[in-house]
């Protein structure tokens, strides 16, 4: 049956299970938008194409489904670059569709022409320039296959206007994607044997749990593995949620702003078992002194990650779930009593800010806000954070027991991510209680999407951690640039009035006593509520491993107070 390229596009998207797309129309993508009306697709009009990509990303991370964003050529396409790079760094499966000028105009510097496949080459898993209607179906089908298989990632399809308009024979089955890449990983019997031997011999092992566990849906196998071997679990920022925070084997987040006992345990370990993580520099500190006495096992789906940052003793290439399923029947139950007691001692002697007892001296601390948000939402919200101090405080003080309950830009550290990503997450999971936790800086980068919230009737609650600074940069200036605050003091509008201008209810909170009532008012409202938490201006995220320092060389909290059980 003959169809236009535009019809073939939607036909394929619908058959891939797509129900929602995030986008912004324009000249070169008009034929596709026109054809869209004939298909059961919900289109969410964003206020910026970057927002559309983050929404698709949030949609993907909230569910594991492929998120879809659509934009026009030229500026529409280039505005997607940040979102593509964000998804690339965090292995998020999204497909971005862009219009392109007519194929005869390519290379002529036509109006709104950009070589977007050239521009996005380094920030996509793959991309396509489609110039014929007959190439649309194979490109779309392969794009979805690539986005979600192996290590997930973003794929871009650039379709010329004439390819959208002209007709071609549509044969869905004939357009099936071809397998690609190296023929399956080798059997790796030896590696499994070596890994088991290392696990059985280890006295002070630590598991480093990453995003791959969530992406591979390996949560139950992973929990069984940790419990059977009694090995404590440290998580990367993106790994949070893959293992219950309340579990006795959970240590918490490791790395630059990991708690001291976590990093000390990693440094003193005799075995690290890295599962679906990539030894990012924010996790390791300086490599030269990283876990010097530890043997290292690395289980990772992307073979290019093995021995990239950290030389490992055993590398196993594979899906974390498959690997764990194979290890589980062979691994012996362990007793790590002495090691776990040692870590408990470390915890006891380590400074943790006591949230409850932190002086209520008229100042509002971000840590209070996050911890109270955790209490008020019973730890069950889907929290989407931006980038900076609030992001680290969230990771420290909101305890996630549930997978896919924290969405954040880790690898790229994209400010402006939270609000649009939360919109995408809410569209994907309409029944979830979604909270945006965002700084005053990042919020202003993409706050235009408040209009999207209103137009689409979306209910996400927004907690702005407003300290009047680009806080994390200010913190670095405080520690490493002699408090010379170059370009970090930040003027913001009255966020409550901004919200009201969009028709959104805004609440301003300046005292600790008002935090939980405000959160509860927002929860009870059946629509978006924005809360502007005006917090202590020069507050600092502790502990901190300075860039280039060894992981155990942390800047500790200035006034250590022992942790109380109630706050853990």
């Amino acid at each position: 049956m003959k169809k236009t390229g535009a019809q073939i596009l939607w036909e394929c998207l619908v058959r891939e299970g797509v129900t929602d797309v995030f986008g912004y129309p324009g000249g070169a993508i008009l034929p596709a938008y026109d054809a869209m009306l004939g298909y059961p697709i919900r289109h969410i009009l964003t206020r910026h194409e970057q927002g559309a990509t983050h929404m698709a990303d949030g949609y993907a991370r909230a569910t594991g489904k492929v998120g879809v964003a659509i934009a026009t050529s030229g500026p529409g396409a280039t505005n997607m670059v940040t979102g593509l790079a964000t998804a690339m760094m965090d292995s998020s499966p999204i497909v971005c569709i862009t219009g392109q000028v007519g194929s005869r105009l390519i290379g002529s510097d036509a109006f709104q022409e950009t070589d977007i496949t050239g521009v996005t080459l380094p920030v996509t898993k793959h991309n396509y320039l489609v110039t014929r209607a007959s190439d649309v179906a194979p490109a779309v089908r392969e794009a979805f296959y690539l986005a979600k298989t192996g290590r997930p990632g973003p794929v871009l399809i650039d379709i010329t206007k004439d390819a959208q308009q002209s007709q071609a024979e549509f044969d869905y089955d004939a357009a099936a994607p071809r397998p690609h890449g190296r023929p399956g990983p080798p059997p790796q019997e030896a590696q499994f044997r070596e890994a088991l031997a290392l696990i059985h011999a280890a006295e002070r092992p630590v598991i480093l749990a990453g995003h791959g566990i969530l992406l591979g849906n390996a949560m139950s196998e992973f929990k069984a593995f940790a419990e059977r071997t009694q090995i404590p679990v440290a998580m990367t920022l993106l790994g949070i949620g893959c293992f219950p925070a309340s579990h006795e084997l959970n240590l918490g987040m490791m790395g630059m702003h990991g708690e001291a006992w976590v990093n000390t345990a990693v440094q003193e370990a005799d075995l690290l078992i890295a599962l679906g993580m990539r030894f990012d520099d924010r996790v390791t500190g300086t490599i030269a002194t990283y876990a010097p006495n530890a043997k290292k096992i690395h289980v990772e789906i992307d073979p290019a990650e093995i021995n990239k940052n950290v030389a490992v003793d055993v590398g196993i290439v594979g899906d974390v779930r498959d690997v764990l399923a194979r290890l589980l029947p062979a691994v012996a139950a362990g007793d790590r009593g002495p090691w776990l007691r040692k870590i408990d001692e470390l915890k006891g002697s380590t400074a943790v800010r006591d949230i409850k007892n932190l002086a209520d001296d008229g100042h509002l601390y971000a840590a209070h806000v996050i911890n109270d948000l955790w209490r008020a939402t019973n730890g069950k919200a889907l929290v989407v954070t931006d980038v900076g101090q609030h992001q680290m405080w969230e990771a420290q003080y909101y305890h996630h027991d549930v997978p896919r309950s924290l969405i954040t830009s880790g690898g790229l550290g994209t400010m402006g991510f939270a609000l649009p990503a939360a919109i995408g997450a809410k569209i994907a999971r309409p029944n979830a209680e979604v909270w945006v936790v965002v700084g005053d800086g990042g919020f202003q980068m993409t706050m235009a999407e408040l209009a999207t919230i209103v137009q689409e009737g979306i209910d996400v609650n927004i907690a702005i951690i407003n300290n009047g600074y680009l806080g994390m940069v200010r913190q670095w200036q405080e520690f490493f640039y002699e408090r010379r605050y170059a370009a970090t003091p930040l003027l913001s509008p009255d966020f409550v009035k901004v919200a009201e201008a969009y028709g959104i209810r805004g609440i301003s909170v300046r005292k600790r006593d008002d935090v939980i009532p405000a959160v509860q008012r927002a929860r009870q409202a059946r629509e978006t509520v924005l809360i502007d938490f005006v917090v202590e201006q020069e507050d600092t995220v502790y502990p901190m491993v300075p860039a280039g320092a060894a992981l155990h060389q942390m800047i500790r909290r200035p006034s250590p107070i022992a942790e109380t059980g109630a706050d853990a």
């Binding site: 194929s103 397998p179 023929p183």
Partner: protein, 185 residues
């Protein structure tokens, strides 16, 4: 350490860019890269010589495999193999010096492919060392211009890098996304 990879890729627009962009952004260093057609329609073959330490080699291979258009990657460095470079060297040659230069050409088993009153073009095929050797010998006469292809390589013996059934089948009619730009070198 010099490492030589044979990379079979789909003969499609933009594939060369994808390969070189990947190598550049991962911080690997290309010594030489050649591309050409193979015995199989729709499949091109690259010989990439890189300067890399031992630990990087498996990562280069794994990264290349991440490119959708890459069919097969083979590191032939450890295998006995034939490596060849072709060079054309234009050298100043007067009546007085021409005889001596022709003798050098004979010794190196090169060929003279163009003669003019005051210059010669010499064509030579061989290993990089051999070509470098000839260039050194010609330098005193005045090397005016030189063009080299870079290395092409093939493993010795009857073992061929079979593009097995498990490899991505190449059907050029189905996979052609034609931007009108040809990348073949």
């Amino acid at each position: 350490m010099q490492t030589t990879f044979i990379v079979h890729v789909e003969d499609q627009p933009g594939v060369l860019t994808r390969v070189t962009s990947l190598i550049r952004r991962r911080g690997f260093n290309i010594e030489s890269l050649t591309v050409g057609h193979t015995e199989r329609p729709g499949v091109s073959r690259m010989t990439i010589v890189m300067d890399s330490d031992e630990r990087a080699v498996p990562r280069i291979e794994a990264n290349l495999y991440k490119l959708v258009n890459v069919i097969r990657v083979e590191n032939i460095t450890p295998q006995p193999s034939v490596l060849r470079d072709l060079a054309m060297i234009k050298v100043a040659a007067t009546e007085a010096s021409r005889g001596a230069i022709m003798q050098l050409v004979d010794v190196f088993r090169a060929r003279v492919v163009d003669v003019s009153p005051d210059s010669l073009i010499i064509e030579i095929t061989g290993t990089q060392d051999k070509i470098d050797g000839l260039v050194e010998m010609l330098r005193p006469y005045g090397v005016l211009e030189m063009a080299r292809t870079g290395c092409v390589a093939m493993a010795r013996g009857s073992n061929v890098p079979v593009l097995a059934a498990a490899d991505r089948p190449v059907d050029s009619s189905a996979v052609e996304f034609d931007s009108g730009v040809s990348f073949s070198v």
